[in-house]
Amino acid sequence: MNSRHFLAFACSLVGLGLALAAGCSRPVVAGPRPDPAVALKLREQLSAGGAAAEGAKPEDAAAEGPVEWGTLHGVFKFAGQPPTPAPIAATKDPEVCGKHPLVNESITVGPGGGLANVILFLRTPKVPVNPEYDKTAKDEVLLDNKNCRFEPHVLAMRTTQTLLIKNSDPIGHNSKLDLTANASINALIPSGQSAPEQLTKEESLPKQVGCNIHPWMGAWLLVRSDPYASVSNPTGEFKIENLPANRPLEFQVWQEKGNMGGLAFQGGKTDTKGRFKIKLKPGDNDLGTIEVQASAF
């Protein structure tokens, strides 16, 4: 092969390379292709108004008969040496916020290793609610902007209750609630004022609350249509009273940073999503001490 031929050969090799490379740009991750046959069948069923047979019917928790009530309680513990919360530098309004020691609150371990701010809530829909809860059904639930942080850091409320966002600081705050089922809110709360918010729809998981003026501020809000949710206190204790007993219930354990899957409690273990099913007996039901390993975070 003489040099001219070699040049032509080399050039065309480069061309081949380019052609191949053109087809191999950044990969597109688009998920699986829809199956047209399945989609068409589904569409026909939906258009006809008929119910597709697929999928299991959820177990009916609202079974007949007089309801007996049970209490569920336990303690969340951080297993091992808890991490030291990282301090936060108050870069905005330092003359006010700099006075308060601010730390990262994503893992809050109290005295004795109790893990605070873990929510345990009922997932089973349409359960009977104990009339005791009627007293608090219309209550105001306070979320305070105080000392350049949200107080409380994690809270649960019911759709019938009113969320009162308050600003106890001498400076202005805004509260941005990124909700899914409810309309998102971003309200400006001047110093000393408060804004009542109605959240009428149930959220499937706790949603984040933030302040854009002070980016370190954060809180989590769970909105449920029933009153069966409990946020663990500084010693890690939680308690839900007056739950319907003798019927299958499903609960979820949630913590803002950690994976609450595979937690062992007295009588069972949470699944990969931190959920567990249980049938309560009337009266006291103790889940015992639930240890959360450091590897969960």
Partner: protein, 443 residues
């Protein structure tokens, strides 16, 4: 016959041409992508992703063959005019309008990830969350048709969004309908993914009318259908000429620097938009958070090792368990193995999805109020809307009431004062520094 050497040398070139041509002749029709950020974040299994894809195709069809149920209240004829490949019929009527005018930025799925997205700032709008910034309705409400038409007609100043004022009205209307279609599809998908993750272990999402139409589709459809009822009508602005205007501007200035409206916190003491530079909008936040949660390659490797170690330990415990029957043991071991595989798959998918995104998340810049360029329009009414409801999807909070008829942070009059001040800012001395004296000028 003797084949000349040069012909052999050109053989790879011929092959290359064939590869090129093959790419031009036969290609799959374009498809809608799944919302992979959402899929990765919620850790959907492959089977669940398939359900997501199938349900969406059943409800909305494909880019070439769109479909809508009557519940959406969308006009399928208009959508068809905008959908599909680009061509024109024998009367010269343009078809495939979305792919002719929009797709290179907004992407075939309306996810704002078209080929040009990576080189644009700001990034093109992702319609799928149903969040639109520049509109006349309440904060979380959808824009009205008139709002979307206005954006198409005027474009968005200071962004890559051009004006389509030269398009005939019916084409603009078709595009508006198609944007609503893509947005509704995206909103339905996000809700569907949430419902899929809400299903208890061992159960399946019921694919019936109650779930898919009454629960998923209707929610998004109603939001769009009621948009026109949620328009914010401000009270008439007070008379604003001469000294009245000056007073209003002065009052607006006091509010701007005051602790009630707090405008200067983000827009800066100089109003140059330099007060807050580290915040993200809702679209970028989601990716940013996913990235943060995933960590660097070391963190990913460590997490993967933890998953394997935990599963192996768990399996070992199960094997040692003397109370379990051989059959139960096998089931338990199988489930541990499946969970391990899914956990690793979910971890890898997050990494892959972030890698494949055409652009990195970017922080949002508060508007420079001295530039005199207003993305949502420069009429006093436009500025009023920005203040009253804030800007949906961004850190800009509302100074109006959260619910219509409620009490807002500022009174409408105070809002008009702020409008006057904002509109006066480009003409303030600091916005127009004095020119150096002309050395040639002689006195």
């Amino acid at each position: 016959m003797r084949i000349p050497k040069s012909a052999i040398a050109l053989l790879p070139f011929a092959l290359a041409s064939m590869v090129f041509l093959a790419g031009c002749v036969k290609s799959d029709p374009p498809r809608f992508n799944l919302n992979m950020v959402e899929v990765a974040e919620k850790e959907l299994t492959l089977e669940q992703q398939q359900t997501d894809a199938d349900v969406l195709e059943a409800l909305f069809g494909t880019p070439d063959d769109p479909f809508v149920l009557p519940e959406t209240k969308l006009n399928l004829d208009k959508i068809r005019l905008a959908a599909g490949p680009v061509w024109s019929d024998q009367h010269g009527k343009e078809r495939g309008l979305f792919r002719r005018h929009c797709v290179h930025c907004h992407g075939i799925t309306g996810d704002g990830a078209g080929p040009t997205a990576a080189i644009l700032n700001p990034y093109p709008r992702d319609y799928r969350q149903g969040k639109f910034k520049f509109k006349s309705t309440e904060r979380a409400a959808m824009p009205t048709d008139a709002d979307l038409k206005r954006i198409l007609h005027d474009g968005v100043p200071d962004t890559a969004m051009p004006s389509f004022a030269l398009l005939p009205d019916d084409e603009i209307e078709a595009l508006v309908e198609y944007v609503k279609y893509l947005s509704m599809r995206g909103q339905t998908e996000i809700k569907l993914i949430d419902e899929i993750t809400q299903v208890s272990e061992g159960e399946k999402l019921p694919l019936n009318r109650e779930m898919l139409v009454d629960n998923l589709l209707d929610g998004a459809a109603k939001k769009w259908a009621t948009a026109a009822d949620q328009v914010v009508f401000p009270p008439e602005p007070p008379a604003r000429t001469g000294s009245a205007l000056e007073q209003s501007i002065a009052a607006g200035r006091t509010l701007y620097y005051g602790t009630i409206a707090n405008c200067f916190k983000c827009h800066g003491p100089s109003a140059l938009g330099d007060g807050q530079a580290s915040d993200y909008d809702d679209w970028n936040t989601q990716v940013h958070k996913l990235e943060q949660a995933l960590g660097d390659s070391d963190a990913i490797a460590q997490r993967r090792a933890t998953i394997i170690k935990d599963a192996d330990e768990n399996a070992e415990k199960t094997r040692q368990d003397k109370e379990l029957s051989a059959e139960d043991k096998e089931t338990a071991l199988k489930s541990i193995e499946e969970q391990k595989a899914q956990a690793i798959y979910a971890l890898d998918l997050k990494y892959k999805v972030i890698e494949a995104l055409p652009y990195p998340p970017r922080t949002i810049t508060p508007r420079n109020l001295r530039a005199g360029v207003y993305r949502g329009g420069r009429r006093p009414l436009d500025i009023f809307h920005r203040l009253y409801t804030g800007i949906n999807g961004t850190p800009m909070p509302a100074v109006g009431p959260a619910t219509p008829g409620g009490k807002g942070t500022l009174t409408p009059e105070q809002m008009w004062n702020l409008v006057d001040y904002v509109l006066s800012l480009p003409y303030e001395a600091i916005s127009r520094p004095p020119r150096p004296a002309n050395p040639l000028a002689q006195d």
